[in-house]
Symmetry: C2
Subunit: 119 residues, 2 copies
DNA sequence: TGAACATATGAATAGATATTCATATGTATG
DNA sequence: CATACATATGAATATCTATTCATATGTTCA
């Protein structure tokens, strides 16, 4: 242990205070898991592209597939994931189903992400 | 085609205007990819937990391992990923290496994520 | 310099995931 | 009601990824 007391890492001198502070502020297991699951949804360029389309307008599945040059099935699978994460919502109009952004968190999160990578 | 012109989805009547608008605003392939890569880094509960520890203080690897009850190796591998994404930085102090948050985007992004899941 | 310690890293493995293909569900229309 | 169309979904596969294990790198100190 040195004068300032911040020396590391003998098992004897693990920083107990720090560990207690960390444990006090660490979210619960479930919240951490949900948070990771949410970001996982943003962590795929196909889904990111879908979200960028929805930034422009409410769109039906077949237009999404056309816009992104993807299979209807692939788009549909990803839309399901986006919907489960409550990032998009949909409504039926005849045979078609139109998707749109669920709320403004999507823009906010992607906006922050863009800021970070554009440094 | 119906009166209002927003009927979908015969190949004949894909919404050309929409597609053009989408293409005009869609980021480049590389930017989309980088964005997805960034969120992928947030999309793992181990890395989220590491970031929450770093919210409290600058910490060495062995304390991180202790705090999270993980192998030094596992922590080190994840720290590498966080560093590549420029979410954390490090400095050497003797034998130890201390990690800390690279900038405030990390807090902002996680904050937005927390807001979303807490609805 | 050599021993002990803190961290990094490569290879291997087990588990997760995006797309494809085939098909089911649900809706409008003749 | 039967057909065509738009979307959803289950299974299979190929790819990716987090952890583990063994070991390498880099630092301190005697």
């Amino acid at each position: 242990m040195t004068q300032n007391g911040i020396e590391c890492c003998d098992s004897i001198c693990v920083h107990e205070e720090l560990l207690q502070k960390v444990n006090a502020h660490m979210p619960k297991e479930e919240e951490l898991y949900d948070l990771a699951e949410l970001f996982k949804v943003f962590g795929d360029s196909t889904r990111i592209r879908i979200l960028f389309v929805l930034f422009e307008a409410e769109v039906c599945v077949c237009d999404l597939a056309e816009a992104l040059q993807m299979t209807q099935s692939a788009v549909s699978h990803q839309l399901k994931i986006l919907k489960q994460a409550k990032l998009v919502k949909n409504r039926r109009a005849g045979k078609s189903i139109f998707y749109s952004l669920a709320d403004d968190h999507v823009r906010a999160i992607i906006g922050q992400g863009l800021e970070h990578i554009e440094e």
